[in-house]
Symmetry: C4
């Protein structure tokens, strides 16, 4: 009978039901590396709550490598008592009490990258321990993997062991693979993990090539390395664009905004393009020393809403031209677009060249995919007039950001939103967009007519990010498949 | 004794006896993607019969992804009752009644590309179900393959399971692999399948490079991707030319003619070069909105006869020069040749540059392979005078095509052929060629003398396709081996 | 005790004791492909004896693909009775009676390249059958290999099965792998085979690039293909130079000399460079239609002696410059050197550019390896004066060659050698060189002093090949290791 | 209870406790190849003690290939009695008596590269034999590996067998993998070996490209080959820089200094850059014919102290520009930096171009990694003033070196150090540096202020190596993780 039938329904979902939009939060590695301890975690969590970051969606506190001191005789990892004198369970409880989830780190190898004990061969014991501590999230690295790589099957089999172990605990834990894109996980990781790094480690540089990050493409990269710049990582994304999906996100690595190696406009590019590509947004700086300008970047609700859109797709790079290199030898401009779940379209005009550029986005380029996807009928998008909203127009002022950082952020109550601030705990981004909340829409700066072109002057190492919203005429078909 | 000897005879054959010439038909994906239902399939089949397409050889109706709603408790797939309220078996029966065969889709993974249930691990149940429904053809995709790729052996072993399951049903089902050329199936797929995709998915563009289709060669392509243009796919073929053979065809993907993204002459290139390369010819547009011009392309019997030639070889690209790029940055001209089973030779002068070109095909280039294949004796082809027939000269007029689309195609009876129309159900292409049927030969436009050159002016983004037929002097040797 | 010790002695040897110098003979494929029969083999053998080719060392008659008609009920291959009405055993016996050894062909796949039954899974039965027929040599191809490739281990394991089966018969059979260099056999094949193809199939062209032969390097070539030119194959050799050794030769494929696709000087290059690189020398043309000029190329004893030198090393390409391309777009010059077992050095100045060149070989370049191999002491070679012999100076005249082809070659008795002719059956090349036989030394054309340079004018698409012989001063150390 | 807990402590360590800094010593291969015997080893050891090399740290005498004569009936290797008439055990004892450790060679294949018996399949017997002889070090090659490569797992599994066998003997033996970087051991070898070759074999050339060394990058090199120049090997290091660590060193191959193929300044580059990259330093020339100039290179304590620094990191190539090629077609300049364990920084300005260059190192480039590693706080290094010491300024004079080579080196007692000489047996490099020993510091040539630049004129094919030492202001944080 029908009630004996078990159906699998496609669409927004994941292998374990978690992480339908990209995870957001904070991770200590980029700023602190191994200098971790419970005070850092708890102070950071308290600051993030105070500064409104938690209620913007940054709700994971992730402890990275170097937290253990070894395995005990029973085979369980032991936290370093000097760094975590209260014990990890207590730290997790207190982080939970502040309204956050808690993440930890290990490696699918015999050692972690910092040469602490790894989880390869200890998956069940480690997953059970983390579950017993109340952990919500595991970042799982790839160092010292005993050569168990080189074909997708070897990597899949190795990473699946931990996936199964986490599932077997019965506790919901987001599984964040960190195998740097080795063996091209884009066709196999969706069924065992919630996100997957697709590059070697980021470093705090906009576009400087570094010999330690030898690949310029994600696919077939035999040595992901580290010291990969923002532009290096960004340009590895287009080939794998279709392999970002609800429940599995291509992780471009943690954010460097605030670490001092880039200009303000470069950090805006970094944050915007991570958001455009549905990358996890994990703050990677010292919250305690955050500048007003950097808080204003992390706190742009219009950009976060783009990142957290339920369509869960990465952006498409429609064109890229190599022009006008800077002192690193690099120079390019590009157009990126991404469709939103409600039919909006977001475009980014990225100027990574050395001088200001007048940049154009034509309707034909913006809606290329609609035009070429069986377009025996003219796509409605090309017959639509679109309003254009600048998503950075309402960037929080330094004065306002300073006020928040100085503890005067009294307006951050649960139900308060302003053109510059938003509380997603109180009102979801989806609902806010449906209500035309100005904090999510920025400022209307123009319209595009059918067959028209949108133009904007974009400064050196800057980006313009615009949400196109159809004037109320057509009904836009959604794509629900690859 | 001799009668105990089982002999294997080489030549035109396939591992399962099917598909000795490339399959032809219609597939819904390019135009409709997941928007499928039984009405679409049945209406399309009726239109194809009415418009003469069925009798030109387009006799498979292939239903692509998104038809199921899950697996039932017995482990069998269940069709989506909203899309197929009559049940799939009934749909198949009615398609059969219209004179067509019926094809379906699944993936050699745990999910299809649209994230419906896949067949990996369920091969026997799925093959049995399809056989019970009367299915004649399986397109078998590569999404969500659990990392079972990376060496030819991993892909071979995975695809062989379904091959064996289909064979075990006892029903004839063409097995169309769709692994995008991963792990270079050109040396291993012939023994388990009837065709194999050799590229990422096509999109409706003549030659625009797209970052989502990163490879320009078929061999060793680690990320076939999608959004591959006609010219991108075409130029992946020459290296693997020898691995097209009777019973196993390199599938260049479904035709975009009619979907609006290319000019009329570009669609002529697309259709001609797919035919030249013995690719399956699967119409990928909405038959119900087909324009007269596009019907005239799909309905050229002279080009279809070339595609369906029993020699079952792909064309050889004799030369290629990069010249005169257009706005996409691409520009090239090339000469392609293909030997026919009856000793004819077909040549294509392809102008994918930005301006009209006077193009030349010398006898030395046309017959290069004959000259260099142990040519201690001068090949007879170089001592022959050839008549040259333009295979597009008899293209159906828009008036005639309109008449057919308007239901006035009363001349399409079984035994009627004209210079523009052909009924292959009544008279095979082989017999038609033997009778010098004008619908298959086009119009004679010249001759080539020994050591001569054929020249033609070819417009931008166009192709000239010519059948060379020997004047009755020599007897041409056929090659029957690799 | 000592007499219980089994010692392994390095040096000139092979895994099965066979083929210490490169095999020589004739193979039907290049000229006849599948058009084979017993008359062709026997007539060819008789002609080769008559024309002196057998006594120059061409003593294998190798029957390539398409000889079988299937497997019988006992699992044994059956020869095609129309092609071999006397039965294969009888053909082998008669070839033996003419003073030749007999070679056959199969594939390490389920089908041969011509789609006849292959030996994968039938290795023991097939090896036993060949041994029972008296076969001396197996060429073992790579078509239809069921995906058993992609790592060296997969190819090694597959090819080893036949190696073991041949050994188990107890009959000496040279094992000639033909896997086109797939999976880089250069580190693993020496222990299981006597030679190994290192490229896709040759075609009769000097340097024309062809899309069907996509690789320009042997290493990591995922698609060896076919239609590889002489220059393409030649330039794949330098990287793997060290992996030619006594008992295992890198096989550059069968010779095209005589097939009509190249000029006389291009054929001289082809033959000379195959000899320089210790490639097997298998004549690939129709012996019955051999021209005097081509017989003169195949019959140059000075070049054959170079090929058959017991040092069994390939040549080193000391330099290569890209210059002056011809109509194919290719143009280059290069210097190649090879050390001989007796301390001689052979150099080749190759002009594959479009015009005549004055070319130089300096002592520093010729003896680069001696200079850089721990040269804390100045190598004796650089302190030596060398006599220079032109190895093509005594090329047989067309008159003399015509006389031989016309059956007037009465001087070809066992003990006759002249400046142009040699009988290696009567006097080994090693002994001839020790005796300063003029047929092996060519003509002295100069000397090179210490720190000197040898110069020669080399015509377009030609090569000068010179043997350097030390004037009787120093004693040259031989290298006996990798 | 706590005393049941077994802790793993990260930091300076190795899988077997050995080789925490790079091994130093002598290996016969580069100069003598297979021409080995006991006299050579013992004479060399005596000379190395006499010339002060042993007490500079060169304390391994490594016997390379060609020492055996086969396996005996019990399966044990037997030393060649002609080369080692005293027996290997006796040789080892006498080398030990001279104050050295003893190393030997085998291959993870069925034959060594010189085609003597290999250890694949005989690991236990061979390790036991070596332990019984008192061997301290095994160089383990990759020839004739039966195709057991092609994925990291295949190579890891093969090399691990010997690692386990060596451990099982109970004797401390350094395990020096020599698989030429095949299958990218950089992520897997640290847990099974003490060093690993990362390139094909060196030859005595500064920068001449050779077709037999086809790769220019270490990663993914399918054919490491041999005849790799100093500059070729050096430039393969930056991508894998992070995979040098205490206990596992990327081995750049043995030193050619003294073999005559390079100029004095080129040898200085060779030695300096090997030291900068924490490569093993194995002298590869004939000690008996060492020139004063070459002894002065091998004997620079300031460079050796850099190599032996406990931080055990490789240098970082901060920039590289291609300029001004020489006659080989190669020309480049580059800046390399390396952090020391005590907070010093060493920089190398390398001029591999064809003319003298004024070269600059800015503070921003030198401390790039500090600036970009979470630099929300300005790194103290950029606020520090640094003293600059030229590490080649105190190079031993030819007169002094001659005196030592002539046996007049009476000042080489255990406790004597001078500005040019050092006895590390008596005073460790670490203690010497702590004491500001002038032999380790060279000569102060300047200072760099915060945000300053250091400039130096560097001659063609030369290098300047400078130790930067902070003026006593800041306390520099050490990094203890990857």
């Amino acid at each position: 009978s029908d009630n004996e039938t078990e159906f699998v329904i496609p669409g927004a979902s994941s292998y374990n039901g978690l992480n339908l939009v990209p995870q957001m939060g904070w991770n200590n590695w980029n700023a602190f590396h191994c200098d971790v301890n419970e005070t850092l975690l708890l102070t950071t969590a308290q600051d993030m709550a105070n500064f409104g970051l938690r209620d913007l969606g940054y709700n994971y506190i992730v402890l990275d490598d170097c937290w253990s001191i070894g395995r005990n005789a029973s085979g369980y990892l032991v936290e370093n008592p000097e760094k975590f004198p209260s014990g990890m369970k207590s730290v997790v409880d207190r982080v939970h009490a502040l309204g956050f989830k808690f993440g930890m780190y290990s490696s699918a190898g015999v050692l972690t990258c910092g040469r602490y004990p790894g989880s390869l061969g200890h998956e069940k014991a480690d997953a059970d321990l983390w579950a017993s501590w109340g952990v919500d999230y595991i970042k799982y690295d790839n160092c010292f993997n005993q050569g168990q790589s080189g074909t997708p099957k070897l990597s899949f089999d190795r990473y699946k062991v931990m996936s199964d172990a986490l599932n077997a605990t019965g506790r919901d834990m987001v599984y964040a693979m960190c195998n740097w894109g080795n063996d091209d996980p884009y066709d196999w990781a969706y069924r065992i993990a919630n996100s997957g790094r697709m590059s070697g480690d980021i470093y705090d540089s906009f576009n400087r090539p570094d010999a330690r990050c030898p690949c310029t493409e994600a696919i077939g990269c035999a040595w992901p390395g580290f010291h990969c710049s923002v532009m290096n990582i960004l340009n590895k994304m287009p080939a794998i664009q279709s392999r970002t999906m609800s429940g599995y996100f291509n992780d471009m690595d943690m954010l460097e905004v605030g670490n001092g190696g880039q200009s303000d406009s470069e950090y805006v590019v970094h944050f915007s393009m991570w958001a455009m590509n549905a990358s996890p947004l994990l703050i990677g700086t010292n919250i305690g020393t955050l500048s007003p300008a950097n808080l204003a970047i992390y706190s742009n609700p219009a950009i976060i809403a783009l990142n957290q859109d339920p369509n869960a797709n990465a952006a498409v790079r429609k064109w890229r031209y190599f022009v006008d290199p800077d002192e690193t030898g690099e120079g390019e401009i590009s157009l990126w677009t991404r469709g939103m779940d409600n039919g909006d379209k977001v475009i980014a005009l990225l100027n990574a060249a050395n001088t200001t550029m007048m940049m154009n986005a034509t309707m034909n380029d913006i809606f290329l995919d609609e035009r070429t996807a069986g377009a025996y009928r003219e796509p409605v998008q090309l017959r639509t007039t679109w309003d254009v909203y600048d998503l950075w127009a309402n960037r929080m002022s330094e004065e306002e950001a300073s006020s928040i950082l100085n503890g005067n952020g009294t307006t951050m109550g649960r139900n308060v939103t302003t053109p510059t601030r938003y509380n997603a705990t109180a009102l979801s981004y989806e609902d806010g967009l449906a209500n035309n909340n100005t904090a999510l829409l920025g400022v209307k700066v123009g319209t595009i007519e059918p067959s028209g072109t949108f133009s904007a002057e974009i400064a050196r190492h800057s980006v313009g990010v615009y949400r196109l919203r159809p004037q109320p005429t057509g009904s836009l078909r959604k794509r629900d498949e690859l």
